[in-house]
Amino acid sequence: MIQKKICMVGMFATGKTSLVQKFVYSRFSEKYHSTVGVKIDRKQVEVEGTTVKLLLWDLAGKDEFQDVPASYLRGSGGLFYVVDGTRRETLEQLYALHAMAHETVGDVPTIVALNKKDLTDQWLLQRDDYDALSDRGLYTLGTSAKTGEGVEDAFLWLAAATIKS
């Protein structure tokens, strides 16, 4: 069995905790809980015949007062970026976060979840944004922690990528 440390990285209130909760416990809450520090969950998955135990480090989101602490990122086998598709700034800030994370952990498998996909009427991201992401070699996937869309796929994709790298 392989264990992998995965860090959930993103701006505050993008849905990192909700994605983890949906993935690990299949539950969703509309209430917003700000994560303090880090919360760790665990989920075992099967990818391509290998059992992978994911240790999901749900880091506190970056906001104007607080950066994502680099020390938590150390040793990550994969990075799970979360962008709030209804808040453009969460995507704009992602590039800075990515640069910081890359400096700390180097080239590790990375996915960008464009979250809150269920809020279609408030959706702000466009074709150009997706192109910009893929130009930087970032794999993206639309997700919704509320409906569960894309959640399982995103984590499984990242799990598979970590064992190949």
């Binding site: 264990q3 938590y72 040793g75």
Partner: protein
Amino acid sequence: MPEEGGKGDPLPEELDTVPDVKQDPSELTELRRLLVGQERRRLEELERRLDELSLTPEELADKLPDAVALRTARDKQLARSLAPTLQDAFSESVRHNPQNIAHAIFPILGPAIRKAIGETMAGIVNTINRAIEHSLSLRGLKWRIEAWRTGVPFAQIVVKHALVYRVEQVLLIHAETGLLLAEVTAEGLTAQDADLISSMMTAIRDFVQDSFDSGSEEKGDLRTFEVGERTVLVEQGPEAHIAAVVSGQPPGSVLEQLQATLETIHLHFTVPLTNFDGDATPFEQTRPLLQECLQTVVATDRPTGLGLAPRIAWVAAILVVVVLASLAFRSAQRWRAALDVLEDEPGIVLIELERGWRTWHLSGLLDPAAAEPMSLLARMGLDTTRLEARWKPYVSFEPSLILARANRMLDPPASVALALGGDTLYAAGSATPEWIAGLVRSSSLPPGVIAVDVSGLTEILPPELAELKDDVEQHRIQFAIGSVALDATARAILDDVANAFQRLRDVAEERNYEAALNIVGRTDTTGSNETNRLLSQQRADGVRSILAGRGIQGVAMNAFGVGTSDPLSSTSAIDQARINRSVSFLVRVTFGTDRGGTQE
């Protein structure tokens, strides 16, 4: 400096050679002063300096630090020499200005006191916990005996034994990723979520390092933290950390053991540690090493007994077994007692008795006259559905059963009691002649009886006949003095007698009895005996002929004249005479035609 002194000595002597011509008068002295006075003063100055000290304070100030360092390195003489002075100086300083000293040591005072108090309190709390836990236990008793035997206060004995701890879980954690490499848990404990714990621990460590040492070069380490009653000791290495979850107060030896283990692991697993990519398989081999961390501590003086919960479980299990066993035992005992009673019961013979899982299997012999075994058991409060019995009929020669059978076969009237003596059946009481005759002539006696004794039986008429007999006998025919004439009243009575006797005869005949009528004539006492006897005979004969005329024939009907020899008695003399001038009746009823003898 004796050598230097030796060198210095010759100098003044050499100088003294100059003023050797001492005997010369004062002019010479004056001359000498003029000639060499200046040199002489310089010499005296030199001489004085040599005598006083070889070092000036300035020189000493230059050399003292080196000298102290040199000497301290060589031995402890300097410290010993200085100690009294330093002590005096310290005392003096405290006496003069305690504030200074207080200010000086303040920074170390707090931590030192806190440390001391903390350790003492932790020890005391632990000790008290243990003491309470063990005060009533077997262990506590053992300690009390030890205290009493050795004369050491009990508290000290408790401290000696009760400073216990237990390394419950040891985790080997990859330093960079915080992933769990290997984990061992003490036997009998449920493993905590080791992988989550190791990740959280790493996160906490990162947090601690970030929070407390962001500025400084030296990284702060998370060495120990407490969670509830457990202490987590963390030993950090470059590639991996080792963490031990300890209950109780861990001594320093635990940390040393962890350090040594971590070093060994770093030494032997360098390659897997550096190349770790999430696959913890190679670190399975570290388990024996980690196990040692559990075992080493187990070997110290800590309670090796079971925890409270397993102990309660054991006690409960034992109690349940004991209760079940005693219930089963009591049930079995009740059954055995009941079956013993059954065995003692006449007419019941138990041949085979087998205990099944729930039911008893029984086979035996049962006399039909015996008491019903199932109802006997039911009366003793046993669940007869748990008994499976197979009985074979037999005849028991128990006296009580012989009697029971006799009673059933002979069906004696209530007035007859049967008893058994040996093999003879004794009947006592009163019974009708027909029943007695039946008993005597009985061709089939109950099994176990070969003779019947009826000597204790009195014959009585069947009530019907006795009543009819009374009916006849209540009549009396009165005569006038010296007369044999039967008046109309007498004749009417005789009609009644005849009717009553006829009824009696009919019933008697039906039941195989024979009735005979004796007619007894009497007289009063006046007159001679001979006359009276004749008179009485005539009276009886007269009645007899009348009765014969009333249809009573073909039966024994005897007329006797008894005169005065067998008088009827009365309380008054006049009445006595009157009632004896009479004829009265006696009915004889005998059973069966073939039976001789008379029965009154």
